[in-house]
Symmetry: D2
Subunit: 395 residues, 4 copies
């Protein structure tokens, strides 16, 4: 077996900028690790914070030249667009409500975008952004990163190959416990903005983690529900948005689904899972054991597929960096998404035809938009007393 060891081919690396992700931020550093894993990009500019001091110091931390450590993302977009050695893509890792305006600024400057999820804090913004991105012809990747796990991609491939037969049932969960206590009211910064309607949008739990479960379900099953019926709850007194969500889903094909997202379930740090059952077989994958995929053909022995194993070829083998049971984890999954997004940007900039198969593996602005529509429809359904509410699927 030849492993995708992650070395770049040749010294040419994509020039990347980052908005958000300064000192005290969390997810920006994860993005940077994922970026470094394969060495296919270098981070050369940033608006890591809107606070000038923090922006400067954060830039020093990670080796960004002082004149490219901006505190205003608009200035950064303009300045970088003008430079001969300007960034070729921007990574957006701000709180949700800034995703859309920042993305807009860089799209308008002709710079490809890699944006954290959810796509925005409101559906309107998301619709406009998707339209703008489409018009621009630029790459717009959304880091719904769990789609990057090798065995998630294998699961998708199995479903697409018809190994499960027509899909009947989709069950997705993302269960956490970190919001069990009112830490948002006690000044925990991460909890605070994620439960603030002004920065998070109409839902906290769905926007923060539900959308991951949703994207996983979509990516693996290849289907988007046509309607949802939702029950959102805020268990912790004083919290301003939901911390638990139970959502029923119906698909146009007749398939049915359940999506559960919770941030108040003690004993679950990050328990993400997807189960898909078809006429012929079922599969199950758990994010805390990402290297294994359970595949069961009806009436046959149950099978455990292992990433890196001889039995797992195709896409999962393509992105494997390590032999089986030298565990890959979260950063490799994130890194796979980055590697592919960078390949898309590079191809576009070189004027090469985009590999359509590869493009489908990288969550796009449309995927981000559909996630936003799911959130919107779920909140609408909940507010209307749990009635079945359509999820718009036109693009």
């Amino acid at each position: 077996m030849v492993y995708a060891t992650g070395d770049s081919i040749g010294p040419r690396r994509l020039r990347i900028g980052m908005v958000g992700g300064g000192r005290n931020a969390f997810i920006g550093a994860v993005h940077r690790m994922a970026l470094r894993l394969d060495d296919k990009a270098e981070l050369v500019a940033g608006a890591l914070s809107s606070d000038a001091d923090n922006a400067r110091l954060s830039g020093i931390d990670i080796g960004i030249a002082e004149d490219r450590a901006y505190s205003d993302y608009r200035l950064m977009a303009e300045a970088e667009a003008r430079r001969a050695d300007g960034i070729e893509a921007v990574v957006i890792v701000t709180p949700n409500h800034l995703h859309a305006p920042v993305a807009r600024a860089f799209l308008e400057a002709g710079i490809d975008v890699i944006c954290d999820k959810p796509l925005s804090a409101s559906l309107n913004e998301a619709e406009e952004l998707a339209a703008l991105a489409k018009r621009s012809g630029l790459v717009f990747a959304v880091t719904l990163n769990n789609t990057g796990y090798a065995m998630v991609r294998h699961a998708r491939e199995l479903v697409a190959s018809g190994a499960l037969g027509a899909i009947r049932i989709v069950r997705a969960e993302y269960i956490q416990d970190w919001l069990t206590l009112p830490i948002d009211a006690d000044g925990q910064k991460q909890a605070e903005w994620r439960t603030d309607p002004a920065r998070a949008g109409r839902s906290a739990c769905l926007a923060d983690i539900g959308v991951h479960a949703f994207s996983l379900a979509q990516f693996v099953s290849g289907m988007v529900p046509s309607e949802v019926a939702a029950d959102l709850t805020t268990f912790v007194p004083g919290r301003r948005l939901d911390d638990n969500a139970h959502v029923l889903m119906r698909y146009a094909s007749g398939a049915r689904g359940v999506l559960v997202a919770s941030q108040v379930s003690p004993g679950n740090y990050n328990r993400l899972s997807i189960k898909v059952y078809g006429e012929k077989a079922g599969l199950e994958w758990h994010g805390h054991e990402p290297e294994y995929l359970r595949l069961c053909e009806f009436g046959k022995p149950h099978v455990i597929l292992t990433r890196g194993g001889a039995e797992v070829g195709g896409e999962a083998a393509r992105v494997s960096r390590m032999p089986a049971e030298h565990p890959e984890g979260y950063v490799e999954g994130f890194g796979n998404l980055y590697r592919d997004a960078i390949a898309l940007v590079s191809a576009r900039r070189r004027g090469e035809a985009v590999d359509a198969g590869l493009a489908r593996l990288v969550p796009s602005v449309e995927d981000g938009l559909i996630g936003m529509r799911f959130i919107e429809a779920s909140v609408d359904s909940h507010e209307a007393g749990g009635v079945w509410t359509p999820v718009a699927t036109h693009l």
Copy 2:
């Protein structure tokens, strides 16, 4: 540790009769094994089949005297009630639609009843039966047998003790795959009657297995939902009732729940589970690993409790027959329910005060009734387009 080794104390055993459970039946034999485990009862009469030949031969199989191998349960109730050595309790293991008429016959003959789930094939029957049972003053146990597992009882005890704090979320599942193909149409006897509205009632999946998940949720959490919103599906063409059910639940306390039951999920033989999360802790139990209970206090290390272990006292220790990790299974759980039901019958017949704690451990006709109301409300909700539908909780 002293184990409840299952030997009877003294040679006096309760005299039991059985209705249903002849040759070719399945669950009757399971009941008999569970009964034998502790040797506290002897099976001395039966109407094992309505077919006279089958009834006679089935009686011979299991050592019932020829004159007590009836083919008509009404005759059996009358005859046994007249005998000095007549049965002291009857076990009903017929298809669903016969539960109520059979139970009625024995109640009217003054004989205590142990009846398989669901209580009946229609809610009306169930309501009437519960009223009759109440008036009779007789014991009426319903073999919602998963409540008999030692670690399920431990879970209940933990919740009741307040170890989890106020309960916020209940998630129950019962997932199978045996109805993935249209075996009901192909003459498989078990599948045929379970999917026949005339014998199963308004729901197949909820009546057959959903009600087990429901009873488990009720038993452990100590709560009954006040309303449900359901999405029932029949995936297999030609099937006459649902084979998959997704149900949202709301409790009067503000707690929320999800119940999933499926008989068309390949790779799941009998995957029953219950997860309960409270303000302080969460617990998880899986029926295919019944000896372990996962208990997680928020912010503390996660704990695996093992049946038979020094760390597990109380009720679970009381019913343990084997040292830890000499696995107990389905039959022991069933046996626990039988042991306790027999104790209730014996106490009643001796005119002794019933141990209230024990009585609460044995699912009663009221519990059976509530299960029927849950099924009814779920089917009603589904037919009304998934609207929230009350579950009557008065008794």
Copy 3:
């Protein structure tokens, strides 16, 4: 699937007696539960204790007639042999040192024997007993009960079928922690006799649990090691025999093995496992998850076989009582051994030809003897400084 529901065919049940197993004993009650599971035998006589009062009271507990509640096993053997309705087989559940004399008494009275493991407390006794049993022509089963698990039998069948190719490696473990503290010195009765050379023999840990791991390895692999090199340890101060054993094994075929037995490994209640690897495939089974067998063909996806599943036929299906994932456990495995031993006794007494396949499934006096030789060779090896020591395999 038709399940072996455990009901007897017809009312005729084998008449059984028991030596040992009175009040305060542990394993006798387990044997009785296993016996009752299938209702193929009735316990009608016993020398449950050598203390007359205890013998009488223990007899009453389990419904033995007063005149057949003996306190002297020799008297019992004689008296029962004389009765027209005398016992047809005896179950021996005394401490180790009494196995041989009790078995001898019943063999000499012409009564078939079912004896707990290890066969005796010394190799000499075991050799003599095996010779006597052979001469007698009687059935002599040894309750090395883990061979009774359905999936252990399936594992044996897979090995025998050549599915693994020639066996290279055998690894067996039985790990406990109950002797971590000096409870034998503190008067715990079970611990006391099991660590007493006079009652347990030359080894405690190997005789109590090591021999189970050994028998499991032998049963599944179909091989007995030709030599062993052992390191026995007594970790707890004051203990008189070993509480931990590490044994290397070599087979005549060139295969190699490791056997680990420990009673001082905190966190292990009863962790029994067997792993066998051949030229083509490997399998792994764990006693605390007895319903599953992991089977891995080299280069193929790993497979989980589930008892009761459509994929598991043959012997495992024959002995399954419950549908898949309605877990069977320790008592069912024990019950399988009893069912088959009873069938052997019945066949012999009716003068019928014994089913050779069935006979091989029931551990015999020869298997018990080989277990004793393994213990002896291991202790010899250890005392000689770990040198490779032959295990006699002639019978």
Copy 4:
């Protein structure tokens, strides 16, 4: 919780060179990924292959300037030692037999060494190399990388804290199946050199993977066995070295151990585990589920500790990059070792006092030497018929 996000503090990164790891090599690329994870070093020179063309092309692949892409490690050592911007440390990832000569060349050039395991292909070389390294005063880290896993470090901390009491038993395993077939004879390059006495040394299985299990046992238990008794086997016909090893271990404290290494156990890709039992508690860790540590205090509920969880502080928290259950894996463990080794090199070069605690976490040349002595003693024991053979522990 603050995560060790892996960003360097400030732009200053250690200048690193690499010997070995060119095209077609495997482990070199893994080292480079681990190095990049934290961005604390840059790879600026290499002798990636002894073939000049391969060396040049491999250098281009990973961005090494052409004049620093050497094909002769001696020239590289000399040239780099002369440069003002020369490398500050060298990473050695050649086959085993070159470890010692390469390391010697760089030590003699005054350059700190990070060397793959095993330390060398013969004990003599290892002893000389350790002596040389000691005299040099330079840092010499050996990438026994499994010691870098957060939860392995937590396990070590627990043992050192006395949480387990005095250690009684150590069990370590490293089980693979990739050499089940004679792929070494069929030209598989990795298999070929690893089973070649001239390049691997006296043992293949122990040198390749047994030494990992050994180092894990040593690191966690804090103990080195004083004697071993070994049974090495070559199962695959034509293979020149062992492919399976069973080793008993005795410690001066009276503790006992078993180490099993196998490359011919179908169904095991890379199953590494360590179990340590003491007077008070036991712990278990598995390399294919590296994020969890099972800790069991005798008589208490069993505990699952999760990396990143609130319950896991100290060293494991220090090296955590991700929240709990965003799985870290092999590369993070490797990266932890690199981060700490780089810190040691940086401190030495700045003339700062070395953090003794940190130094103990990085396997040193002495640890590498002890691993070689373990291999040597095991082979000696095996060749002498399994006799107990001392492992020299002086340094």
